[in-house]
């Protein structure tokens, strides 16, 4: 198990052509072992989301190599990456991104639908996941009937219902007040501790980053610091 779950080797991501050319990532290298909780920080436009998209197999490097689970994910086609995401990766977004007019339970079931799991099992697993985020009694509510904190917890249930290896969270507390933010972080930390879920999380807030084991700082597409978080130290 010496092999890291995530390994960036001189990863470049370039957008645009000529004058408008932007290096969102400029030869970034780092790795994340299984079970680690990593916070990624940096000013706006520094390349955090770009890195997260590649980590989450939504995107591929322009140059360099990205290994996920020891597989060269940059080399996989769309379909294979979709399968990889479905089997191994859960996503949480700043804006929750639940399907509107769809109940919490149905939202949580969604990744299971694409796994081809039957309706009864789906429902059971979704209810279990909702229970784990403390929303068992909201299973049949639609997003519009839930608060921001509750919606984000439904999103967490949807991310963990498939029991993934990696959780990718891009500013998960960006839209939440301090108290809801800490509730969400407590949840993520518990999944990290109890299941050994690897977490890569972007945040702007230092007190949120403190929940992580390690913090990587980006600036202009480069890593400027990579170290053990204050609390974990």
């Amino acid at each position: 198990m010496s092999q890291p779950l995530i390994k960036f080797e001189k990863v470049w991501k370039t957008y645009g052509e000529g004058e408008a050319r932007v290096n969102a990532l400029a030869g970034v290298s780092f790795s994340i072992p299984r079970g680690e909780f990593v916070a990624i920080m940096g000013p706006s436009g520094s390349g955090k989301s770009t890195a997260m998209n590649i980590i989450g197999c939504l995107d591929t490097p322009t140059r360099g190599r990205y290994d996920f689970l020891g597989i060269d994910a940059g080399d996989l086609d769309r379909g294979r990456r979709a399968i990889l995401r479905n089997r191994h990766i859960g996503f949480i977004f700043q804006g929750y991104n639940l399907l509107p007019r769809t109940t919490a339970a149905e939202n949580v079931e969604l990744p299971l639908v694409y796994r081809g799991i039957g309706a009864a099992d789906r429902r059971r697993l979704a209810l279990e996941a909702l229970d784990q985020v403390g929303l068992a009694n909201r299973a049949d509510h639609t997003p519009a009937e839930l608060s921001g904190g509750q919606q984000q917890r439904v999103a967490i249930a949807r991310a963990i219902v498939t029991n993934p290896t990696l959780l990718v969270a891009d500013e998960p507390t960006g839209n939440l007040d301090t108290q809801r933010s800490h509730e969400v972080m407590e949840l993520l930390t518990s999944f990290n501790h109890e299941r050994g879920l690897t977490i890569a999380m972007v945040t702007h807030e230092a007190d949120i980053a403190e929940y992580a084991d390690r913090t990587i700082r980006f600036l202009d597409g480069h890593i400027v610091s990579d170290g053990i978080s204050a609390e974990a130290a």
Binding site: A82, I83, N97, L110
Partner: protein, 403 residues
Amino acid sequence: MLWETIRLAMLSIRRNVMRSILTLLGIVIGVAAVIAMITIGSGTTEKVKSDIAKLGSNLLIVNAGRPPVPGSRPDRVIRELGDKEVEALRTHLEGARAVAGAAQKQVRVVYGNESLTVGVTGADPDFLVARDWQIASGRPFTDQEARGGAGVCLIGETVRQQFFGAGDPGDATIRVNKMSCKVIGLLEPKGTTGFGQDQDNVVIMPITAFQRRIAGNRDVDSIYISAEENVSTSDLQDSVEGILRDVRRVPADKDNDFNIRDMTQVAETMASATTVMTGMLGAVAGVSLLVGGIGIMNIMLVSVTERTREIGIRLAIGAHERHILVQFLVEATVLSLFGGLLGIALGLGLAYAASWVLSVPFVPSAAVVLLAVGFSALIGMIFGFFPALRGARLDPIDALRHE
């Protein structure tokens, strides 16, 4: 999984009921038009066939005058048919079940205070045989009555209703022109023809009486000849032609100065003409289906754009391109199918209403309905494919960023 997708499609259609219905209007109207056209068309074909069958089976009708040739004027002077021709056919023609001369005139018929303009026919007793016309009650006239030109007559259902209401004509005497005529029987009802002519507004009397007291001449308007069971009408037609040319002394180098219509052929010609018409109208209606398909494509493009973010979410959490493609294809198909079903209901409704108005039979065809179902599903698939593909090919990151 497929069931799931269908359920999802239904949900999404339900969420935009008004928009869905407006979108579907093209398909609904297209399918309704096709169904209505074809159903009314086959009803008309049926009607034409049965009308002609009502004239009698294996029937030849002879009239005076050259056969009508398109583009040439009809003869100015027509040599009428007469008893001589009827007699000749009766004596010499083989293979005929019945030969009957008949003459006709619109005449005012009076009974008590009631009067009615009726198509009065003077006919030989065999006329009813030739035309397969049954007597509902009473009796036909005898040969003796026919020869003697007796004042007896058979009346049609319309005439009975006008004069006797719900009652029985009994031995009533009606006045036809200035002639008194005893009602001896009631003809079985035949209904109206496809051209709206009431075939029951008739009075039939011996032709001798008709010629003497109504027409005032010895002319025979038409000769009805029905073929025996296994005699072909075209063979019979040849024999009739020979006998008539003979008796009318038509020189060998001259055309017939009479015409013979084979009603079986007329029936076939007319039926195939209405079938062609139906097909053409159906094709025109089919074009509106194409317009409906473009409507579906349009709405699906809107739907894909509106739900870009949803597509992004689905792709991010592991939906395959194929899943998105199928989802939108199913949605387009269900939508179109729904429109098709509405269209079928509407089309059948229209055809039913039209069958009342045109008094043709209502003949819905299961094959046509199934075809419409299949066709509307196909339209959904074809026109839904491009929008669905567009959704499936979206980049998940872009799609997630979409507002």
